[in-house]
Amino acid sequence: MRSAARNTPDHGTGAGSGDAVTEEPDIAGPDLADRDAGEHPESPGEQTVAFRPIRDDEDMIEDAPVRPGEECEGEPADADGEQDPADAAAAEAAQDAQSLEDDPEGAEDAEHTDDADGMEDIERAEDGEDEPDGDRVRSFPMPEPVSAALTEALNQLRTAVKGLHFGLDVPGSEEARKAQASVLAQLDDYVIPRVHMSTAPALIVVAGSTGAGKSTIVNSLAGGKVSATGVRRPTTATPVIVCHPDDHEWYARGDLLGGLRRLDEPTRDAPPGSVVLTSSPSLPRGLALLDTPDIDSVVEEHHEIAHRMLDAADLWVFVTTASRYADAPSWGLLRRAKERGARLVIVLSRVPHRSREVVVKHFGRMLKEYGLGEVECFVINETSVRDGRLPEIEIADLRIWMSALSADDERREAAVKSTLNGVLNSFRTRLPALARHLETQVALRADLRSDVDAAYMGALTRIDEATRDGSLLRGEVLARWQDFAGTGDLMRTLQLRRGAKGHQQGPERVRGLKAALRAGLEALVNSAVQQAAEEVVARWRQRAGAGDRLAATPGLGRPAEEIARRTTRTITAWQDHVTELIRTEGVTKRSVAKLISFDVESLSLIFMIGLLGYGATDAPAGAGAGALPQRLLRGLLGAESLRNISAKARSDLRARVGLLFDEETLRYVDALDSAGIPDEAAATRLYQATYNLEVAR
């Protein structure tokens, strides 16, 4: 959207003041500065439309009268996909009304700008029709009507790609991140601007190994020292664009390679993300050369820059030498060209006279085997380089090829189109690959999450089992229970109604049993938690990549520090809850209540022992069946009531322990989250965007 707006011709200024037309060739720069200097405040939205096109004067004059008509037609076009500028324009209009009082001239200016802003689509279409004659190479041919759908699809794609987030460090995520960056850069640097501008000056990238003589060839073609050459490897660190002086402004404007800062001359410590822009009259119009850093030297940043440049170019000139043509990185580059469907030209440089024939033949055969036999190939002999340039005779072929390309618009357009198409085609495989990787991440995360759940579910099951199979009634619990029952305290908790009020003849034994039971349960829970923690880590270790790394997070292999305290709290709370249950729900059978009173505390304890120690709560009803506590309780409370309370107490214990486990689980979820959460819908969005792009093409 932004780049589209930036490209809008600023007719308003031209039409508004007559003398502006005569000044047409010098473009926006100074004009923009003037406007900035003026009192008229500019919204950011407006700034992007401040450029004026370079065009022949009569073109402008012709255009001007037509404008009012266009304006009316322009409005509906606005509706589809151009909402934002329209809004901005409305806001601006209001602002202008204010500034009208202070500065009528500026306001008028701005108003016209608004108009132009709103109708760029129509105008661009119009401009495209205005460009039939080929001899006007100086003018920037305005793009063919770019369907709003394609723009929309590309923007949508851009958003989708930008929104991808590969959080988990699984094998391949680094590559995926790189691929994402490269797709994004290519969209911004090349595809989006190029779609809007069609054949406007073509960019020829010169790429190849370090020491292959890329800069030397660029210098020779430019007829001057525009890029540094030398024996130091790697030589070129900052890419250099060389163009015809007439095209200079266009490149300075920065639609292509918009993200890079323009420098006037190469400096030793140019910041990364910048490009040197110079011009040379020796180059034909409509073509620019881009000298890139190497693809294979020890300075790895260069490779990335080079690849980014390649992604933004319309034609590739691949330079290699007689001693390098079999290098693996070179063939990697050729493969990339093939994959991207880029228009390719190969230069075999530094070929010694003696072996020219053998080498050229051999290289030709290798290319043919690789499926690149059709590619145009230029050979440059090994000669002495003077002043960073080759003798003119060596590059004559190359120069002729360039001139032909410059002169023949159709051919150039075909080349540009073919590269653009190739890039769009390459999206068909590159984007699904990204989406697939994202899906892998999402799946892996789900797997890791389910590992945690499975481990803790297992722990819960173990606790369940231990409280059903009687293994809890061992050790101290058993000893205390024996103590409690064997000393008659059990019987003493039951008091005949007509006897004295229940006397506590051994509260310390009740307390002891209660504490022992709690300790037993705690030990059970703690041991289960410990096992679960270890199991999670063990399971994660088995998952390659991210799981492995996450498992190494300190502290995950064991339960949280405060787990013991929390367990105590949980179990105590459960015991209290059970006592409460017995008190409120354990209504004694009426027939029994007449005879016997009982101590709730002791009874709930007997109940817990019966529930967890003996387990079999579902023993068939009937006097005499089942273990002692159950029989006792059934006798006191009735079978129905006992079953109810048992079910409630058990599910309550489960719930409480489950809650405790949830807190534990949270640690793992946090660890997972801190590693990055892949957005599950992002892959779908990406597929959708890819599909939309295909439809829009």
């Binding site: 053998v358 293994s471 058993l478 229970w481 024996q482 103590d483 006097a623």
Partner: protein
Amino acid sequence: MTAVSTAETQHGLGSRLAALAKIVELGQGRLDPALVTEAAQLLLRAGDRLKLSSDHTVVALAGGTGSGKSSLFNAVSGLELSPIGVRRPTTARTHACVWGIDGAGPLLDWLQIQWRHRFARASALDKGESQLHGLILLDLPDHDSIRALTDHEAHRLIQVADLIVWVLDPQKYADASVHRRYVTELNGHDAVTVFVLNQSDRLTPEEQAECVADLEELLRREGVTRPRVVATSATTGKGVDSLKAVLAESVAARRAAYQRLEADLDRLVLRLVKDVPELLRVESTVDGARRAGLVEALCDAIGVSALGEALENVYAVRSAEWVGWPYARWAARLRPDPLKSLRLGAVKDDIRGLVASSVTAQPAEVDNAVQTLADGLTAGMPEVWRDGVREAARSRVDELPEALSGELSEVAPPLDRVPVWWWLLKIWQYLLVLMFVASLAWAGAILAYGVFKAGRPPAEVLGDVAVLPWVGLMMISVLGLGLFSAMSSRNFVVLAAGKERDRLEHDMRRRVGVLAQDMVVQPLERELNRYNEFFGAMAAARR
């Protein structure tokens, strides 16, 4: 002197390699598997190389395609042995030239140099090259062409050669394929690496100086502290003699093989150390306090003290049935039993059965006890080793509760046990009851015969009224005696139960201690020893 230092180097290297072998053995599963594999490979390679001729030095000419390795090979050997050409890549198989063939055969076999690519300088003395005697010069295929992607011969030989000569040229000297893949990777190999800037005839002297300076700077940045750079030209022969001199020096010292292995070892150990960051020596035995802690925790898992208390209490209660005053018991029976009304069945039998059940250990608590011990011992150890120790401590934890239960049920007397003296006391109490009944009968008889004159008494004493007070006195004293002996024997029961409890607890603790030693402490200590051995090996390998 050379021989001495060589022997020393060899000795030092030998012990370090032995340490590395130990590390590989103990570190299995504890270290990064890739690293262990690499260490095992190094051990294998070192073993092989040290067995083979130490009189020969394997020098490999390595480099990218088109840098002139073969030309340089021919220039050094003085013969056209390796084919040179303009097609890239030219050399596909490694060529070898040996100065002094005696004993080199097995070494060449090990290097897997094909027979037809082996050449020997017939007489080491010709051309005055005696100082190169013992040199095996290899002309490697390139490592950076598209062919090298599938053929790893160059890579293999670069890993095993004693001395590596990197053949670079002005075009390619800064290629990532050399620097990233090898120079940085073989960091610390200064002593066994030489850099040659070939094709220097293509440069003017100034350019050459700039080039060499740039290369040296680049190498220093990559961690080569003292780069040895020789500028040569295979075509003009310039610099070849200096290269020969460098080679001769290495060959004469006969130490390149050791230096290479040492450098490899240094590098590997450095990475090992990085993998195992904080290696602290730990106590290899479990100290007394921890051992006592474990026994205590295991006793808790069995409930030893609770068992003791139960023993004491239950005995005290149960003894009432045996040694108590019978009259009190009979009186208690007359009281109504609430349980009867509930129709619960034989509750008493249940309780008796419950009390009779034997000692068992709580598995979860046993688990936690062992866990606590392992955690306490391994504080500060690297995570993988902690896991190992934990694993070792728990190796038999599944059997432990069973073992404990089995062992202790032998010791612990069932709570329903009845000692003989309880029987005796019971008999005594019933005797007293009999006596009371007898006296009662006597008193009745006196009353009947003596007081109410019911008839003729069968015996004199049965009718003598004067005896009556004495009989009454006897009845009271029999009752009193019963009460007194019940009370005192109750005290005895409590006393005996206390003693029994002490004995029981002591015995149990002792047995738990033995079991803990066998099933927990021993495997754990074995693992700690392993760890310490590993620690020692790491220290030894570090030099």
